[in-house]
């Protein structure tokens, strides 16, 4: 049996949001923190080389923000598709 239209739509919207979040997750850690760390280190913010800052500080802050962004967006999707609890 195929899921009802709205459940399938809800899942698609969720996957879209997930993809965006995981791209950001990848870019700040693997991208800025590892692969591009050397060119970014040429830029200084305060006493931090930028690549080093992403690897030891910035990526962690981004992860936190990313989860709360996902929570907020999913809360909206849950209500929009009428699949929220109680």
């Amino acid at each position: 049996m195929q899921p009802t239209g709205s459940a399938a739509e809800y899942w698609k919207a969720n996957l879209r949001l997930l993809t965006i979040c995981l791209i950001v997750w990848f870019v700040v850690s693997y991208g800025f923190g590892i692969i591009l760390v050397e060119p970014l280190n040429a830029i200084m913010i305060g006493g931090y080389p930028l690549g080093f800052w992403f690897a030891q500080q910035g990526s962690i802050y981004t992860f936190v923000a990313l989860i709360f962004f996902y929570v907020w967006k999913m809360g909206k999707l849950d209500r929009q598709f009428g699949v929220h609890e109680d």
Binding site: A55, I60, V64, E85
Partner: protein, 577 residues
């Protein structure tokens, strides 16, 4: 006041608090015992998860690792936090919706297979036991060094405390104790960090202090880079390994984190699906407080160390510290053998250098956090607090792991496989006996630590990454995944990872049984064994996908189950069926 008296008082007070909470939060039902009755507020659960997650390794070892490895240690910072993004988005809400008690239970139901459930139980027990040994050792060491008891007495005291609150309260007791333990450990970690950041950079926030300037106006990181190069080391902020290994290790740690059962099961304790998402966010907030402080603690304690033995920060043998003038903390740690001075050139001074021939100072990196307050000459109560914090970190993680082990035994093996008709009361009793048994086994390993205790962390993460995480993720995101695919994937992912680790580190870590020397020229594509969990996970995904394509699709009710866990609506209280 004498340091040991003060430490006794602080540690005693925290222990009394944990026991008080245990008596208050007794568990009366299996629901309370396994998942704290599913009534834990998401913020409270986030705090408990943070304490559960941050072990003796995070508290005691991580900053020291960062100090001596500099930039390269970023893999631990990113790996052990980025996993929560995966948890929040790929696993936690769906597993909460599924609404059962344990991780193997989900795998068994989703793949309609007792065999899959048993494979998951084995992975869970091996990963958790290897992890808990390290905690037990940490407890024994902290006691013996600071409370001047023997290692055994320390270990028995730790076991006794965990026994009281875990056997009595189950997940409910553990959750509320972990909240208290989080408060103790984060206070103990940040207070010395703030003092030291103020001393070195004048900025009270360590996160800013690390980017701040030291006396004389140069930046702290630039100063470290310069002095390390002068002494013959690589720059602090430069990459020493390869990008490929760093990325793979980070990925292994991230998916390992998301696949560790004692962390996942914490998200079963909140009332709603939305709370599971929120709770993962809060957990990461509480973890990030320590994880963004740790790089500052690492760099600053390292700066202090170099500044002590080489006050002019130059590569000049004649200006390094006279051995006779060494500070008190130096001689205190010398007694433990974790800090040693070998006057190779016989000049009565301490030279810290990169070259083996010239270097006279050996520092065990695990002492950096513990010695930090003394190096910065902070008052004794701060040192006592750090000891209590380290114990809180070790106890909270040990309790979470023991909980995962005992519920796998009582719920998945006894109730799920051997005696499905067991009564609620009987199961609760079994769970308590299993918990007591798990504590005894962990204690035995603590008393007879296998020589490979440090290496097995890679094993625990490798197992979780290569077996549990892919099975859970495909169970949710790929409706067509069937029992044959999942089991084949778990077994191949697992064995590939195990063989790769054992190949270079010896079969079952027995020295001398390595098949090849553990160095870059022998590694497959230059991948170090610690980073292989990510490859194991890829193999798991690929094999599972291929096998499921050529075998029968899962029955219709399983496909309905997957559709059902994808929407939050209708998540009731958890049932253990």
């Amino acid at each position: 006041m004498e340091l040991s008296t003060l430490t006794y008082m602080v540690v005693g007070a925290t222990f009394a608090l944990y026991i008080g909470i245990a008596i208050w939060a007794r568990a009366g039902t299996t629901g309370e015992f396994y998942v704290a009755g599913k009534g834990v507020h998401p913020v409270a659960n986030g705090m408990a998860t943070a304490a559960d997650w941050m072990s003796a390794a995070s508290f005691i070892s991580m900053a020291g690792l960062i100090a001596f490895k500099g930039y390269d240690a970023s893999v631990y910072l990113m790996g052990w936090t980025g996993g929560y993004v995966l948890l929040a988005m790929l696993l936690a809400p769906y597993l909460r919706k599924f609404g059962k008690f344990t991780v193997p239970e989900f795998i068994g139901d989703r793949y309609y297979s007792q065999a899959a459930r048993i494979v998951a139980v084995i992975c869970l027990i091996v990963a958790s036991i290897t992890y808990v040994i390290g905690q037990m050792k940490g407890i024994g060491v902290a006691f013996s060094r600071f409370l001047e008891t023997s290692y055994e007495v320390g270990l028995y005291s730790g076991m006794g405390i965990v026994f009281i609150y875990a056997v009595l309260g189950g997940m409910k007791g553990i959750t509320y104790t972990q909240i208290a333990q989080y408060v103790v450990l984060i206070f103990a970690y940040t207070v010395p960090a703030i003092f030291i950041s103020l001393q070195i950079t004048g900025n009270p926030l360590p996160q800013f202090g690390l980017g701040g300037s030291v006396e004389g106006g140069t930046h702290l990181l630039a100063t470290l880079d310069k002095v390390l190069v002068d002494l013959g080391f690589a720059e602090y902020t430069a990459m020493k390994g390869t990008s490929l290994n760093m990325a793979l290790l980070t990925l292994s740690l991230m998916i390992g984190t998301a696949g560790l059962p004692h962390v996942i099961v914490r998200f079963f304790t909140v009332p709603k699906v939305a709370d599971a998402r929120k709770s993962a966010g809060w957990a990461l907030v509480f973890i990030a407080i320590l994880y963004t402080t740790a790089p500052a603690v690492g760099a600053m304690s390292f700066f202090n160390l170099i500044n002590t033995v080489q006050p002019d920060m130059q590569n000049r043998a004649e200006t390094s510290l006279q051995y006779e003038d060494r500070p008190e903390w130096f001689s205190n740690w010398e007694k433990t053998g974790l800090l040693t001075h070998d006057d190779k050139n016989g000049d009565g001074r301490i030279q810290y250098r990169a070259s083996k021939e010239e270097n006279e100072l050996t520092v065990d990196r695990d002492i950096m956090v513990m010695a930090n307050p003394e190096i910065a000459s902070l008052p004794n109560w701060v040192v006592a607090l750090v000891v209590a914090g380290g114990l809180a970190a070790a106890l909270s993680t040990a309790a979470g792991l023991l909980m995962a082990i005992s519920s796998a035994v009582s719920h998945d093996l006894v109730k799920g496989v051997f005696n499905p008709g067991i009564s609620e009361k009987g199961e609760l009793l079994t769970a308590r006996v299993a918990m007591a048994g798990a504590i005894a086994v962990a204690g035995w390993f603590g008393l007879h630590p296998p020589g490979f205790a440090a290496q097995v962390v890679a094993l625990a993460f490798g197992l979780a990454a290569s077996s549990i995480f892919p099975a859970l993720m495909m169970g949710i995101f790929y409706k067509r995944m069937n029992n044959a695919g999942a089991i084949a994937g778990m077994l191949t992912g697992l064995s590939a990872t195990l063989i790769y680790i054992f190949w270079f580190k010896g079969w079952f870590f027995i020295p001398g049984t390595e098949m090849a020397a553990n160095n870059a020229s022998n590694w497959f594509m230059g991948i170090q064994p610690e980073s292989f969990g990510a490859i194991g996970a890829l193999i798991n995904f690929a094999v599972a996908f291929a096998v499921s394509k050529v075998t029968a699709p899962p029955p219709e009710h399983i496909q309905h189950l997957v559709e059902d866990i994808r929407v939050p609506k209708g998540a009731g209280a958890a049932t253990g069926h």
